[in-house]
């Protein structure tokens, strides 16, 4: 058995496989299918200070090898999360990452302060493409990325901060650097790409929100490229995601420089995707006599 343990800015993970925010709720439902303690970590559904109802339905559509979603940050609010969902997650042997969003910089600072010390890591969602205020608005320009990161970091005394980056930007590396300068302990990428699917009979977008975030296997090459660009640009650890469906997919991100990975859409296609990826990583490393993931991380050799 290979050693799959990884350490991401001081937080020990038993393996590098983390459930991506928005695809896994707060873990209770998937725990009916398998014990979620096998996972390296769980990034929660995006949380806001107040409860949110999210967007109208339909909230999902399909493209070739991809899906689009526009849930719009429906969540019960941070207080209900702390009361009803966090104790369950704390009872599981896995790293708990709270994904948080807000309308204003003060919202981000406020929710970070509220969750400081209660969870293992906080993931700042400044890249949700499906809400009108906040979300991606903060994630587009380096200046606002830095500003919101600094405010969040300033509100945190104990919990390390991950900043989740949007791919819908001019330069993701520039935004990564801005987040690092703002005090991010870690970066995660990529959030979804903005897209649209048209119902040609009705001549309307299929999703009620018109546009949605594109995710799934089809976006993986874009995500790998962006993770590679960001890993070259920054010194903080990077969590890679985008279209990971199997161990081999996860390894692309790790070789490109990611310390850990998140798995989202694959949970819809196969509820056992993440346990299978963990098993597959073990097999792949064992078959090649590789003892730890550190031996692989960032070992990408470019052509010429």
């Amino acid at each position: 058995m290979a050693d799959l343990r990884v350490n991401v800015c001081g937080v020990p993970f038993k393996n590098p496989v983390i459930a991506a925010s928005g695809t896994f709720g707060f873990g209770k439902e998937f725990n009916e299918i398998y014990d979620i303690s096998v996972l390296g970590g769980i990034s929660t559904k995006g949380l806001t200070l107040e409860p949110r109802l999210g967007n109208p339905t339909p909230r999902i559509a399909e493209g070739y090898g991809v899906i689009l979603n526009a849930v719009g940050l429906q969540n019960p609010g941070v207080e209900e999360f702390i009361r009803d969902d966090l104790p369950f997650l704390r009872g599981k042997d896995t790293v708990v990452i709270a994904n948080v969003a807000g309308r204003t910089i003060d919202d981000y600072a406020g929710i970070c302060a509220r969750l400081d010390g209660l969870v293992d890591m906080i993931e700042l969602n400044i890249s949700c493409p499906n809400v009108k205020c906040g979300g991606m608005a903060f994630g587009i320009r380096p200046k606002s990325v830095k500003e919101v990161t600094r405010a969040a970091k300033g509100a945190l005394k104990k919990t390390p901060l991950i900043v989740k980056l949007s791919p819908n930007v001019e330069s993701i590396a520039a935004n990564a650097l801005a987040a690092q300068e703002g005090g991010a302990d870690c970066l995660s990428l990529i959030n979804t790409l903005t897209g649209m699917v048209v119902d040609i009979e009705r001549r309307r977008p299929l999703i009620a929100n018109n546009t949605g975030g594109v995710s799934g296997a089809g976006i993986r090459p874009i995500a790998v490229r962006m993770v590679w660009e960001v890993c070259r640009a920054v010194s903080v650890p990077v969590i890679g995601m985008g279209g990971i469906t199997c161990a081999e997919d996860a390894l692309e991100f790790i070789i490109a420089g990611a310390s850990a990975v998140q798995v989202g859409t694959a949970n819809f296609t196969d509820t056992l995707a993440m346990p299978r990826i963990i098993g597959g990583l073990n097999e792949w490393l064992d078959a090649r006599g590789i003892k730890t993931l550190q031996e692989l991380r960032g070992t990408l050799r470019l052509n010429n």
């Binding site: 709720g25 999210g54 909230r59 090898g65 899906i67 979603n69």
Partner: protein, 256 residues
């Protein structure tokens, strides 16, 4: 609920654009019952979303579902042959439950909504209950399972929108026209949203206080309650997950 690989036993057309898919379970699955659903892969890597389909019938080791061939995914599903395998998560959702004192049961189904109604007939066959079935189809070519409704119901009205089979009316109108004869203790329904709205407003207009439960359809993501994609509005202003809190709701509880 479980993630399993199922083997297709039969996948054949039973009416225009409607296929019946029967599959074998690899192991015992607890909790299969009427009104719950399965989430089936369509069998290729391009379609990442599973298709949620209501259980129509089940035995200890097989499940039958009926689905409409509507888009690329269900077209692909319809090409799968007996002997092939699909992955499936089941059983999902809450389902229909009849109380002890709900003796006379009205079933109001429209389109593919007739199939969950079959699951109720099968589940409660032999319990001494009296079923009155009102099933609406688009046209004669879409009519199916007539024998199941006629054999399982004390009263069965199968109608079409265009009058090419049975009366030219819809399931809800047929039900209200026969309400005095049906005298149900409970009403169960599944069908397109406009049909469920007509049922809700029809009950309100007539001041009918009979308990009524409807099964909703919505585009789903995970199917297990985690992703909050398939929500519906509740009358109290909150939102509920169709896949986990439903798909069956008291008609007064949901804002249709």
């Amino acid at each position: 609920m479980k993630e399993v690989r199922v083997r297709i036993l039969e996948n054949m057309p039973i009416a225009a654009g409607i296929n019946r898919l029967r599959f074998a379970l690899p192991e015992k699955v607890e909790g299969l019952r009427c009104g719950r659903f399965v989430n089936l892969s369509v069998g290729d890597g391009a379609h990442l979303l599973r298709r949620p389909i209501a259980i129509c019938e089940h035995t200890g080791d097989t499940v039958t579902v009926c689905y409409q061939i509507k888009g690329a995914g269900t077209r692909l599903l319809s090409a799968r042959k007996a002997g092939e395998e699909l992955t499936c998560v089941l059983p999902l959702g809450n389902g229909f439950v009849l109380k002890e004192d709900e003796h006379r049961v009205a079933l109001v189904g429209g389109g593919v909504g007739v199939f969950p109604m079959i699951s109720v007939l099968k589940e409660y066959a032999g319990t001494g209950r009296v079923f009155c079935s009102y099933m609406g189809f688009r046209t004669k070519a879409a009519v199916c399972c007539e024998d199941i409704f006629r054999d399982g119901s004390a009263r069965a009205k199968l109608v079409t929108d265009d009058g090419s089979f049975g009366e030219k009316t819809n399931a809800v109108a047929a039900f209200f026209a026969d309400l005095e004869n049906a005298k149900p203790d409970v009403i169960l329904s599944c069908g397109p949203l406009p049909m469920l709205r007509a049922l809700k407003s029809g009950l309100a207009e007539r001041g009918v206080k009979i308990p009524c439960y409807v099964s909703l359809e919505e585009r789903m993501g995970c199917g297990v309650g985690a992703c909050l994609v398939c929500v519906c509005d509740l009358e109290n202003g909150a939102r509920a997950r169709v896949c986990k809190d439903g798909p069956v709701f008291a008609i007064g509880e949901v804002d249709l």
